[in-house]
């Protein structure tokens, strides 16, 4: 089984960096989809099978927090794991996100290993 991953970030450079890291992890990744903000992400999520979402918080149109709120209300999306990648270091913000049911929080700047470890922790390990 290979995974489909959705990357949501308004920064095109971060989307490219993440896609490159994901392909370097040597994990069984089928495809990496990407969206510039929450609205685009929802469109993709409603039309494609996605195994895990990596999302930024601060984005135009729809923020990462609004995206998670909508996903948690939709029965077909509520169980898709969401990992937040953000520059914010506030413990209150992280606690709020954890209460919303996120699968993980990675602070920028991130190391490639943290992306790989989070996928393994969230989706399970394999040989």
């Amino acid at each position: 089984m290979a995974y489909t991953i959705l990357v949501v970030d308004d920064s095109s450079i971060i989307r490219e960096v993440l896609e490159r890291i994901l392909h370097m992890t040597k994990l069984p990744i089928d495809s990496v989809l990407n969206a510039q903000h929450g609205k685009e992400a929802l469109e993709i999520l409603r039309n494609h099978w996605v195994d895990i979402v990596f999302t930024d918080i601060n984005m135009p149109e729809m923020s990462g927090i609004e995206l998670i709120e909508v996903m948690k209300k939709e029965s077909e999306l509520m169980d898709v794991p969401v990992v937040v990648i953000s520059t914010e270091g506030s413990k209150r913000r992280i606690a709020e996100l954890e209460a919303m049911g996120i699968a993980g929080y990675i602070r920028k700047p991130f190391k490639p290993e943290s992306i790989r470890d989070t996928i393994i922790k969230t989706l399970g390990a394999w040989e």
Partner: protein, 161 residues
């Protein structure tokens, strides 16, 4: 701006340049000397709201922005993709700098809302270049200017939850 805030900003900028863009940077007290040397700088600004609210603006030369983009993407700095992403690279560096600065300066328990990084006019650097609150960093032999504006400087320094 008090000396402690200046020190935090300088430390955060140097550390972010190193960890996010693999660029060696160091603070300098020679801002007056290097300010006129900055060539066609790209300026990016990010607002934050909370206690305090304000904005941080960073100016860097296109060459440094291109190196940052190339290093972040793992490509050659002459690659056209690096040129195309140079402003994006600066915006992302600023995003990380502001996130780290707010946490270091005001603690992990306060909540800030960050805006979206915006490119700003070069004329704003001309206004700020010699202001005592404008900090200068040398990154890969290229001058970088940073200006912090606080709307309520008393803010929440030292507050605990």
């Amino acid at each position: 701006m008090d000396d402690e805030l200046k020190e935090i900003i300088e430390r955060v900028v140097v550390e972010t340049m190193r960890s996010a863009a693999y660029i060696l940077a160091e603070r300098t007290d020679e801002g007056d000397d290097i300010a006129p040397e900055i060539q066609n700088p790209i300026g990016v600004s990010l607002t934050f709201s909370g206690t305090p609210s304000g904005s941080l603006t960073l100016w860097a030369e296109p060459r440094l922005a291109r190196i940052a983009a190339a290093n972040m993407l793992g490509i050659d700095e002459e690659d056209s993709a690096a040129v195309g992403k140079q402003v994006e690279a600066l915006k992302e560096l600023l995003n990380i700098i502001v996130g780290s600065f707010l946490t270091e300066a005001y603690g992990e328990h306060l909540l800030f809302d960050l805006g979206l990084p915006q490119q700003c006019a070069m004329s704003r650097l001309e206004e700020k270049a010699n202001h005592p609150d404008t900090l200068w960093i040398v990154a890969d032999e290229s001058p970088v200017a940073i200006s912090l504006q606080l709307h309520d400087p008393g803010g929440a320094r030292g507050m605990t939850p």
